[in-house]
Symmetry: C2
Subunit: 267 residues, 2 copies
């Protein structure tokens, strides 16, 4: 639980440090403003968000087009469905949910994004966003103007390929969710959800077995195609099983193999 060197207040989520999100927040920028120059080349999330094989010069040009935007609090919109598309956003710290709204008021959470992940890809198609992106906690993003990104990716094949991979990865992710929504039962869905979170926390150097949920039961339910009561009941079931420990939004995975069996096994 060490303090990161060089300007820790950069991450005002120091509070979280005690628990989980821990040290992922070590960056060298100074204080606040809504729009700052950032340095991709020195970003600790680089390997999550940029291709590894950019030259120094290429990296420099990435730095030139991207800007840090800070100060998003829980409930703030990064963009709204219908708004004009300008940029993709790389999540620098914090987390967001994306949701699509139906005319009749129904809403479906389509994803929970955490740092190092890129959102806004849905908007390229129509030049307008097709979903909302809402902060789930205090968050920061790197804005990547898409026109400039495209120009750069014409110059740098490795960047181009990376951009394509990011979009493709999103498509594959969505396929997985379709499988989940189309053919899994409540327990299987929740197990898959927990394992997915676990894996993504692990990829960020956080504990894969102990973490804080940033989303409500209602939001989890929307994402998994279940009602919040069902989510709650299933959590309780897992708790009774000894599969997990859950208390409000803090979760501990006790028996990952059991969760994997649930997800992998028919019926």
């Amino acid at each position: 639980m060490r303090q990161a060197a060089g300007g820790c207040e950069y991450f005002y989520r120091c509070s979280f440090r005690v628990s989980h999100f821990a040290k992922a927040h070590s960056v060298q920028q100074s204080v606040s403003s809504t729009r700052l120059k950032i340095v991709c080349s020195r970003c600790n999330l680089r390997e999550l968000c940029l291709p590894v094989d950019l030259s120094a010069e290429e990296m420099q040009q990435m730095d030139d087009i991207s800007h840090l935007k800070r100060g998003y609090a829980r409930g703030d919109y990064l963009y709204r469905s219908g708004s004009k598309f300008h940029s993709l956003y790389a999540i620098r710290s914090g987390s967001f949910k994306t949701q699509v709204l139906h005319e009749d008021g129904r809403e479906q959470v389509t994803g929970f994004q955490m740092m190092g992940e890129i959102i806004g890809l849905d908007a390229i198609c129509t030049d307008h966003h097709t979903c909302d992106a809402v902060a789930m906690e205090n968050s920061e993003v790197c804005e990547l103007p898409f026109g400039k990104l495209e120009a750069l990716s014409r110059k740098f094949p490795s960047l181009q390929r990376h951009l394509h991979k990011i979009m493709s990865r999103e498509i594959v992710r969505d396929q997985g969710i379709m499988l989940l929504l189309g053919s899994m039962r409540a327990e299987e869905r929740l197990a898959a959800f927990l394992l997915n979170l676990s894996q993504r926390f692990a990829a960020r150097g956080l504990s894969p077995t102990q973490f804080q949920l940033r989303m409500s039961r209602q939001e989890i339910g929307s994402y998994l195609g279940l009602k919040l009561e069902t989510v709650s009941r299933t959590f309780s079931l897992f708790q009774g099983n000894g599969t997990i420990n859950v208390k409000a939004r803090s979760v501990e995975l006790l028996d990952m193999p059991a969760l994997r069996t649930l997800v992998g096994k028919q019926q």
Copy 2:
């Protein structure tokens, strides 16, 4: 049903009028072979599959990289999950389904693709296909080697943008399916499915109200997250309603507003 002016053979889908998919296989190529030169610039599906604003020279280069592959029959695989990625495929005639398989044998149909649509985007991410593509009838595809497509899209910004739009469109489509699977009831799902088909047939100059399904009840069910019996029952319900006419795989939409109301309206 008016013929478009200026080169009506541009739309050779006149034939569909008689007996739907019928002779969809009339291409200007001569006889059979598995791999032929094609001419995007003269392809009647161009506006579905390529950007409209390519110059003659640019179009020529597209012609150079793409090849027609024919002879896919119902049940044939265009590619399989796990196989190495080389190319995207534009469907020239016929139709395909894409499906993801779970270790435990469960399968989820993730989409039904018809002519003018491009498949294979999921494979970019890992360089291996993550789903199967299976022909639902006699079909032909244009193979687009992805490396060459990337190279070309570095040279032609409009092609680059188009490629991005295609990928983004796929992401948006998937969001819609998540909404469907996550929060709609059986009737709403089937109504949404029929309206979607209707719209896509219309975009191809075919009847939006009368068409042949190329997929079984089982496949529809997998796509919609329902069992085949439920699909069948819901068809019967709509039939009883007077909303549609359905007999085996031939469908007639009698009351589109009713279908729209079902999809748009809460509960």
